[in-house]
Symmetry: C2
Subunit: 236 residues, 2 copies
DNA sequence: TCAAGACTTTTGTATGACAAATAGATGGGT
DNA sequence: ACCCATCTATTTGTCATACAAAAGTCTTGA
């Protein structure tokens, strides 16, 4: 975990503190020299970390002023690191719900686009991904193959502007399965729903693909609710 | 235009060449010293540029290997700079169409969410944005206020994961209006459609908000088609 | 009272040196 | 002839230092 390069570690440290609310939007960060003393690194390292955070929209630096935290609307929330810091800064369930909400917004449309605009090679990738889901053993493989499936579907949509959403699906699925058991009887049903999506996409039936994806998402939401209910019961 | 800091200019130069296809995904970039000679800058500057490009998902550096271009799926296409480089590397009309396609995918859902989940302050921001649209004079103000309106709607949806999409709307609108004339008679109709959205959101009517947004998007698409037809006519 | 200029703080850029990682070459043993 | 260990060369990673440039803030003079 801590075998990243030095600037990456410094970047994470600062990023987590920003996402954690320690430095609110509009607020001023310590200057580069201070950070260097804080982490015991050279200013070079701090500068590279700050450059990276700037590229992710978290801050903005100006001479004599220092580095200011940008408004949250500027934050590149679909960046892997930023999203991760965001996740650890908020309630686990709330995070899961917001990712699911985003999925409901995006993925039905993605499925429809995929059905209407896929190329043969792309749909082949989707079929391969489905096969991988079927033969997946163990939680790690199951999650990975599920993510790969939705990633492949994203590719089928043939619009590069939509690719960055993959990270949300990835986060939603990993956080979702984090709690479910390996022998979930639900899984075979979920597989059927994935199959339905592939079928609709292959048939170039946009409406059916949208419907199938909606069914899958509703099923996922049910899993979440069920888990919440079980937890509430335990508490009682 | 060229008054950015040095590392920003170097970053842009490299980024444009990557998006332009000169360095394909999987390909290797020149090393840092070479870039330094190319641009006549110190290695420090090149490193900061590369750090930024790395943060945007375009490349990945490793000792002894150098910097490799990442697969396009890793590219942070919703980053302002990356999207800009992307735009200038592709056909203007194709870019506009892909942004509109993305908007059709996202914005109806955004409108619905906005209607269902907005807070009073957020809807107030929306109303303000609408007022600004009405009093906007000149192409620059019109585009800016239109962007601000959709940005405000995005905020009303109350899901931070969706905020990064604002950049797509911004690009779509600026490229759209780039060609339309200031005294477009269409504008008053577009204003009515925006009004309808605000009304539906205020009334917390998700379905109506979605429908109104769909109408607005269809109207926008018509403008695009109309322009295309006019151009084709001119050519003849 | 106000405005022009000096001052000061912070980031921006340059240079040179060394550390660490690692692909590829080299060589030795079987 | 083949394979494994090792050595080498290249590239990024990190450090230290110095100075330039930007931009608030203070000072001073009219």
């Amino acid at each position: 975990m801590a075998k990243d390069s030095l600037h990456a570690r410094v970047e994470r440290a600062i990023g987590e503190r920003i996402l954690g609310g320690e430095f609110p939007p509009g607020g001023l960060l310590p200057n580069e020299a201070d950070w260097g003393r804080t982490f015991g690194t050279s200013r070079t390292i701090v500068r590279e970390a700050i450059r990276s955070l700037t590229a992710k929209g978290l801050i903005r630096s100006r001479p004599k002023i220092g580095s200011r935290v940008q408004p949250r609307s500027q934050w590149n929330m679909l960046d892997r690191d930023v999203l991760e810091w965001h996740r650890s800064a908020m309630d686990r369930r709330a995070f899961l719900l917001s990712t699911q909400e985003a999925r409901r917004l995006i993925e039905p449309g993605i499925a429809e686009l995929a059905a209407r605009k896929h190329t043969p090679e792309q749909v082949e990738g989707l079929v391969t991904a489905l096969a991988a889901m079927k033969s997946a053993k163990g939680m790690t493989q199951i999650v990975a193959s599920d993510v790969a499936f939705h990633e492949a579907l994203l590719v089928c949509a043939n619009n590069e502007l939509l690719l960055p959403f993959g990270i949300i699906i990835e986060q939603a699925l990993s956080n979702l399965f984090d709690f479910t058991t390996q022998n979930n009887p639900h899984y075979s049903f979920a597989l059927k729903l994935h199959e339905a999506i592939v079928k609709a996409v292959t048939a170039a039936d946009g409406t059916a693909a949208r419907e199938a994806m909606l069914a899958l998402l509703s099923d996922t939401d049910e899993v979440i609710d069920h888990r919440a209910a079980k937890k509430a019961k335990k508490k009682r």
